[in-house]
Symmetry: C2
Subunit: 358 residues, 2 copies
């Protein structure tokens, strides 16, 4: 609890002086004011988060947290066998042929994988942070997903992984996940925290249909009714409705906010983690940037709740941090615009020199 | 006319066999089917355009065409003095501090500038293609912007620049422009070709307001009424309502289509050029990819007309090919996904090997 408390204490509001200065610089670049649209706002936000008028995006990483969920397998609403979480996690670091590997390579980000509690064994010598709590979060239709102490442990594991990676250089991060069945706890978190109707935030996930979706909605309703989380306590919500990887993602977000590092939020599940992080420490919200509009049912409602609009909407619904990585590539361009374009003042010299040459 | 005719003759429909094979590969990659959303469609389109199941995006360029427009200066509806077109064109190649320079550098594309008819002198030794027709397209409220012969020349200049650059290596291109006053002819082309009401496709451009917008709309209406272009003849529409850089952009698009090279279409003005190109050779449409939803009034209506939806919507309205360059960065990631992700067949081996190791 000590690391969590300390981390929360270090999260500060954004520096309004930097926001003002960055806005002034944007307004003086050689283009019509506002012509780069949301990229201008993005550059200003990153400047404010990094507390620097010359923000830097050089070292990039996607932090992937993996965990299983007994709920969907015991309740028979899973889109894939439980083995797939472990297999894909191994694929990320050993065979490197997954979606996230290709997108991370394209964007120049390293892939960092943490086992928060997958169901199967795997070779322990693989480059994976071993932070497993148990071999899958418990069935939330029968009780909480984990104990309150384990929820704290999840959050602190996410913080630890972030701090370890920060030491290696980390100017911006993408947060993503792998976990068969993790749209189910995410929908429960969405419905409980935002107060939205369960059906409106519970969809097909990775591809279940009809009767299974209907049962998934029953599962989410039952989980909320049975566990009765305390709405003011993000840790309690995580313990009762969440999952290990969701908690670790929230922890990584808190860690990043405590170290003035911008976080690109991936799709549906990462946003559930963001809701937890914001419950635990509301000031962290300023450090989180929704990257891609998940195609999963209910995502838009949560964006409305957060008064946010993601940068991209390409109909993606993969997870793995892929949407967040696309957001990083936009952030890098936005920061280059702020740093490298000439201002009207500089251009006045240019124009004068040019007239002379002609 | 010979080069134009020859180029049009070489534009072929996309290869449906490649589309089928690329779709099959996408469906077999280790992810839920369709999970990369529009990036999957984009990768398939680029494969089909390049006529290869292994499309390549290595050499990239933004082709910028510059030209002035006497209309807006004589009618007093310009957002900036006529000098700015030439100054910015010089800035692109000499001082390299413009928006397009920064975004092109970020995306790894070279910036290629062509003078199609700017108003001022500039040092001729600068690395600029010199294809100027005259020092600005004529006032379209008093007659055509240029002669029919000059319209053909514009198109052929665009083809020539494209072919020259293709020799240096060019796997995908962005097409953009610089030209104070060029939203006015673009609005005229939008209204005339799509049949939309002039007011609904004529907006503030780079920043004029109120009375000037009202006058701009009168100018556009007058230009269409006076010049009466022939709706079936793209060259005639270009001559009567267009501009030199708009014609060259359309020519570059035709050239690219004739050489199986995908073209990312920038915002408002590039889309007017695309409308001309499609009128001249309807088969070229399959090679054009709208990149960014321009914030300028009426852009959305033209997308509806073309039954297209651009990839990005970041509220940008700069031009200079910047939106198209962002599209190229997405195209590169899309192609990497198609080429570099492992298929389920490959993963089956992976999974078997893994089970053995565990």
């Amino acid at each position: 609890m000590n690391l969590l408390r300390k981390t929360i204490g270090r999260i500060k509001p954004l520096n309004s002086d930097i926001i003002k200065k960055a806005q002034e610089r944007q307004d003086n670049l050689t283009k019509p004011r506002g012509a780069f649209g949301r990229l201008e706002d993005l550059s200003i936000k990153i400047a404010a988060i990094q507390n620097s008028i010359k923000p830097v995006i050089k070292d990039k990483a996607v932090l992937l947290f993996a965990g299983d969920h007994l709920t969907v397998h015991e309740e028979n609403i899973a889109s894939a066998p439980i083995d797939v979480t472990t297999q894909m996690m191994v694929n990320f670091v050993k065979y490197k042929g997954a979606g996230v590997n290709v997108v991370a390579q394209s964007v120049g980000a390293r892939v960092v994988v943490t086992d928060m509690g997958v169901a199967l064994d795997y070779p322990k010598e693989l480059p994976i942070y071993h932070k497993a709590i148990e071999r899958g979060a418990k069935n939330i239709t029968k009780g909480p997903a984990m104990s309150y102490e384990d929820a704290v442990k999840c959050l602190e594991s996410g913080i630890e992984v972030f701090l370890e990676e920060k030491k290696k250089g980390l100017d911006i991060l993408a947060v993503g996940e792998m976990g068969i069945g993790n749209t189910t706890p995410s929908s429960a978190i969405y419905a409980f925290i935002t107060g939205q109707d369960v059906d409106s935030v519970t969809g097909p996930g990775a591809g279940i249909i009809d009767e299974k979706i209907r049962r998934k909605r029953e599962v989410v309703k039952k989980a909320i009714e049975l566990n009765k989380p305390e709405i003011t306590d993000g840790i309690d919500i995580l313990a009762k409705l969440g999952g290990f990887e969701i908690g670790a993602m929230a922890g990584a977000m808190l860690g990043a906010a405590s170290e003035k590092t911008p976080v690109m939020i991936d799709g549906f599940i990462a946003t559930a983690a963001a809701l937890i992080a914001i419950k635990v420490a509301p000031e962290c919200e300023a450090y989180l940037i929704p990257a891609h509009h998940s195609a999963e049912t209910g995502y838009g409602k949560v964006m409305d709740f957060l008064k946010q609009k993601p940068l991209l909407d390409l109909g993606m619904r993969l997870g793995e941090g892929t949407g967040a990585l696309l957001g990083i590539s936009l952030a890098e361009i936005a920061v280059n615009i702020l740093n490298d374009m000439t201002t009207f003042q500089e251009a006045a010299v240019v124009v004068a020199a040019e007239r002379h040459t002609i």
